[in-house]
């Protein structure tokens, strides 16, 4: 199965990369942009998707500072996420 792991900085942790992008966009004339956060995308083919949460907890993310969401493809449905992780679109903060 093809899966994507979306890794985001945890809510409340200072994200200078997101801030830099947020400042850069208006400089190019793109107004009305808020709450920018920069994370990481990991794509992988995996035989046993049930192992994905453990992969995320042990290696793919650092649970102290990052949230993850596992998305299956095709379809793009969310099939798992770290405890306390917010849905995309909910993460205005």
């Amino acid at each position: 199965m093809r899966a994507r792991v979306l890794v985001r900085p945890k809510a409340g942790i200072l994200d200078p990369q997101g801030q830099a992008v947020e400042r850069a966009l208006p400089a190019l004339g793109f107004e009305g942009v808020r709450n920018v956060h920069v994370g990481r995308l990991i794509e992988l083919d995996v035989d046993d998707p049930d192992k994905l949460p453990e992969m995320c907890e042990r290696l793919l993310t650092n649970p102290l500072i990052e949230d993850y969401e596992i998305v299956g493809s095709p379809g793009g449905d969310s099939i798992g996420r770290s405890a306390g992780a917010e849905l995309p679109g909910e993460n205005a903060r």
Binding site: I13, L14, P16, Q17, A20, L59, L60, N62, L64
Partner: protein
């Protein structure tokens, strides 16, 4: 006493750490793929870019074969010092609390900073005085110490914050100016500044030697005695 300096692919401060340790004791290099700590009294996990720092700094290195031995050594009370990338590796391994995040400036910083000794009763700062100032260089992109607020409170009240950046010297946005922390037991210590680069007057400061001298004194008094 005998130090062991771990060498990962991508380590780059292993030689300086070796030279610094050699000023106060015997030293051997410990290859990342080995499973033998060669009977050392203290392990140094040095700075650099272990395994390319792919994914996150230190994330891959923590699973190196030698790290299983280092973890066992730490569990038995052995002294483990992590410098810069070594600090990141020890945090990723769960041997130290917290994590290192990108500097708030998002820039690589390389400069001499002033540190303040917060606690001086453990193996790593025992040769220092509380409040003493140490001039030691930093050089990193990912050095912003982070832990949740309640954990920071616990670290401070338990005396696990050993070194802080002096007021105005915090180079990376570390919470509460934390430059170095130890584990609860006090036998594992990590710091972002590089004491191994401050051991000779030619380098501008010899303050880094205080850390290595502290380790030697502790080992001679408590381990070899």
């Amino acid at each position: 006493m005998k130090f062991g300096v771990v060498r990962f692919p991508g380590s780059c401060d292993d030689v300086d750490a070796f030279q610094a340790a050699a000023r106060v004791g015997d030293v051997v290099l410990l290859w990342h793929a080995d499973r033998d700590l060669q009977g050392v009294d203290a392990v140094i996990v040095p700075g650099g870019f272990s395994y390319g720092d792919y994914l996150r700094a230190g994330a891959i290195a923590r699973f190196a074969p030698i790290m299983a031995e280092v973890e066992e050594f730490a569990r038995e009370g052995g002294l483990v010092l992590g410098i810069c990338n070594g600090f990141q590796v020890l945090c990723e391994a769960g041997l130290l609390p917290g994590a290192l995040l990108p500097n708030t400036s998002l820039k690589f910083i390389f400069r001499q900073v002033e540190l303040e000794v917060v606690c001086a009763d453990g193996p790593f700062t025992g040769a220092c005085d509380v409040g003493e100032r140490l001039s030691i260089p930093v050089k990193h992109t990912t050095g912003r110490y982070y832990a949740p607020d309640e954990q920071l409170d616990r670290l401070e009240s338990a005396g696990q914050v050993l070194l802080r950046y002096s007021p105005g010297h915090n180079p990376n946005g570390s919470l509460r100016d934390i430059a170095g922390v130890c584990n609860e037991r006090g036998n594992v210590f990590g710091l972002m500044p590089h004491p191994e680069h401050a051991i000779d007057p030619l380098g501008g400061s010899t303050d880094g030697l205080r850390i290595f001298e502290s380790i030697r004194a502790h080992v001679e008094q408590h381990v070899l005695a």
